[in-house]
């Protein structure tokens, strides 16, 4: 789930510092798009693995929730990669830390239910994305950036807010 440079992000703060680089990946070619479509699958797998780690044996997940999360995040991740290229190895620790939050929210929303259903998955995703957007704006203000520009969006989780 996390890089070897960050042995255990389960004890890190979800609002840890993020990349502030502003370079963008302009107009990928069809071949590059095909490669990004291949790479995004590994990234989605990585995130599912992390969410599973955090949920553990406390509960399980409905297949409808898997479908919803995959459709939702694959699209966002791919859009982010089309804009910025594949920065997964740089951003992996931060994004999987956000996945930890997603898992905890999903477990909370599934309390009293036999498993994490699509509704709990959607509510958890909405919470996480609100958090990422708020954090991006706060981080942008701290850095003296315009919160509406691309570099600000990139801070703190463009992977889930793009």
């Amino acid at each position: 789930m996390n890089t070897q440079e960050t042995p255990n992000p389960f004890h890190s703060d979800v609002t840890d510092s993020q990349s502030t680089s502003t370079d963008t990946f302009n107009s990928p070619s069809p071949v590059e798009i095909q490669e990004l479509e291949r790479q995004v699958e590994y990234i989605v797998d990585d995130c599912f693995f992390t969410v599973g780690q955090v949920v553990g044996m406390r509960t399980t997940v409905d297949y409808d929730a898997v479908i919803w999360w995959r459709d939702h995040y694959r699209e966002k991740f791919l859009a982010a990669m089309m804009a910025f290229g594949n920065r997964w190895m740089e951003d992996r620790s931060n994004v999987t830390t956000v996945a930890i939050m997603l898992a905890e929210r999903a477990v909370r929303y599934s309390e009293g239910k036999p498993s994490i259903d699509a509704e709990a998955a959607r509510r958890a995703a909405a919470d996480v994305e609100r958090h990422c957007e708020l954090h991006a704006r706060r981080a942008a203000r701290r850095s003296g950036l315009d919160p509406s520009d691309a570099s600000a969006t990139r801070i703190a989780g463009y992977w889930c807010t793009f």
Binding site: D45, F49, G52
Partner: protein, 116 residues
């Protein structure tokens, strides 16, 4: 949905299951992901083309095998902080050996993990 599309959802479901068994005490080296994905995507597609897409019927059983894969990876990782490629290979070997034995007991001719 075609088997080639459906298999990606199935793999996500399985990665979740593996993660459940691994828990938060160990991390996963990123290079394990393409290796596991390529391996099980091929197995699953083979099973789906041979037997039709029976994921909803088989999901409970196959995700249980996914959790077993996570347990074996955890076992082989021993004191290492993360699950590396060698550990993943050993875990897959354990699981697939178990699956082949089950398949033989049940009289299933094709020895594939997805038919565990």
């Amino acid at each position: 949905m075609t088997p080639a599309q459906e298999v990606d959802y199935i793999l996500n479901d399985c990665f979740f299951a593996v993660g459940q068994a691994v828990g938060t005490q160990k991390s996963l080296d990123f290079d394990v992901i393409p290796w596991w994905r390529a391996r099980y995507r091929a197995f699953f597609l083979h099973a789906m083309s041979a037997n039709g897409n029976s994921w909803l019927r088989d999901r409970h059983r196959v995700t249980a095998v996914g959790r077993f894969l996570g347990q074996r990876a955890l076992h082989h990782a021993a004191d290492n902080p993360s699950i590396d490629l060698r550990t993943a290979e050993l875990a897959s070997s354990d699981v697939e050996t178990g699956c082949r034995m089950n398949a033989e007991r049940e009289g299933v001719p094709a020895p594939h993990a997805s038919q565990a």
